[in-house]
């Protein structure tokens, strides 16, 4: 009878050890799975961040190209105005200039 009870006790202890091992192994497996999750979740966050940055970038680019389109227009208008003014000035003084040149040609200082 005593031998039996001794056996029983040892079996219980062995079972407990096994269960303990089981518990620790589970925890270890869970840890590895969790670390793998870190990579996956990180990738997801990174992709979201990139999309956000890309969106901001595109917005900025669209804004500034509108701005520079307006700049180019302004430049064109200014240039045309300058040239018009030039032509008007030229028309104004053309006769006098021609007269001056002719006088220069036909006047001989001897």
């Amino acid at each position: 009878m005593e031998a039996n009870r001794g056996q029983n006790g040892i079996q219980q202890l062995l079972a407990a050890e096994q269960e303990a091992q089981h518990i620790v192994n589970s925890a270890r497996n869970a840890k590895m799975a969790r670390l793998k999750q870190a990579k996956e979740e990180a990738e997801k966050e990174i992709a979201e961040y990139r999309a956000q940055v890309e969106y901001e970038f595109k917005k900025k680019v669209a804004e500034s190209s509108g701005y520079s389109g307006a700049n180019v227009k302004r430049l064109e208008t200014e240039t045309d105005a300058k040239i018009n003014h030039l032509k008007n000035e030229a028309a104004r003084i053309s006769h006098d200039v021609v007269q001056m040149l002719l006088k220069n040609v036909t006047t001989v200082r001897n």
């Binding site: 990579k39 966050e45 990174i46 940055v53 040239i83 000035e89 053309s94 036909t106």
Partner: protein
């Protein structure tokens, strides 16, 4: 020991084993969370930094491209204006060139001018003998002032009157009314002369072009800074 005691001890040991295992599992779990957070954070921050740098670079490139484009536009505009300035000024010269034709029509005035031009050319050359070229249509006017021109030069410079030979090769005629000059495309590009003379040393080595057209070129170039100043308010090259 009796059975009950043994049994109790065994139970205690079983509980102890279990407790230790659960504590250990807990530790592992906690460290798993910590490492999870650290790992995730490091990965995310490293990549975010890379992404920021990437987009900063992209933005800079866009900036540079825009600056270059604007600079090119600016240059194109400037060239356009400069070209217009050039066109406008040359148009005035063209206009003067056309008016030159009228100079030789008033024979009284033109005759006097021819004489003065001949004298001026002689003074320039300072040669005792020269060759003179004029337009065929000016020949009789030139011949009529030749002697007085020689005299005027001689007394001015205190030399003997020079020998002037009129070349039988003539300067090209003025563009006529009927074709050419007023219809830009036809004769205007052929050689023509609005008047004046060309005088050369006898050996042909020194030549002085005193035609009206040559004089216009000289006058134009000389007055160009002044003309440009009137037009654009600054003296440009």
């Amino acid at each position: 020991m009796n059975d009950a005691d043994v049994s109790k001890q065994i139970q205690q040991m079983v509980r102890f084993i279990r407790q230790e295992a659960e504590e250990k599992a807990n530790e592992i779990s906690v460290s798993a969370e910590e490492e999870f957070n650290i790992e995730k954070l490091q990965l995310v921050e490293a990549e975010k930094k890379k992404i920021r740098q990437e987009y900063e670079k992209k933005e800079k490139q866009v900036e540079i491209r825009k600056k270059i484009e604007y600079s090119m536009q600016l240059n194109a505009s400037r060239i356009k204006v400069l070209q217009a300035q050039d066109d406008v000024v040359n148009a005035m010269k063209e206009s003067a060139s056309k008016d030159l034709l009228n100079v030789s029509r008033d024979h009284h005035v033109y005759k006097r001018l021819l004489k003065d031009l001949i004298v001026q050319s002689l003074v320039r050359l300072k040669e005792p003998g020269v060759l003179l070229r004029c337009r065929k249509e000016d020949l009789h006017l030139v011949e009529s002032v030749l002697d007085s021109a020689k005299e005027e030069y001689a007394s001015k410079v205190n030399v003997h009157p020079p020998e002037i030979i009129i070349d039988d090769v003539h300067l090209p005629p003025g563009p006529s009314h009927h074709h050419g000059f007023f219809h830009h495309h036809a004769e205007a590009h052929g050689p023509f002369c609005s008047g004046g003379v060309v005088i050369a040393s006898r050996d042909g080595k020194i030549v002085f072009e005193n035609t009206l057209d040559a004089r216009l070129d000289v006058a134009f170039n000389k007055k160009l800074p002044e003309i440009r100043k009137w037009l654009f308010g600054q003296v440009a090259a």
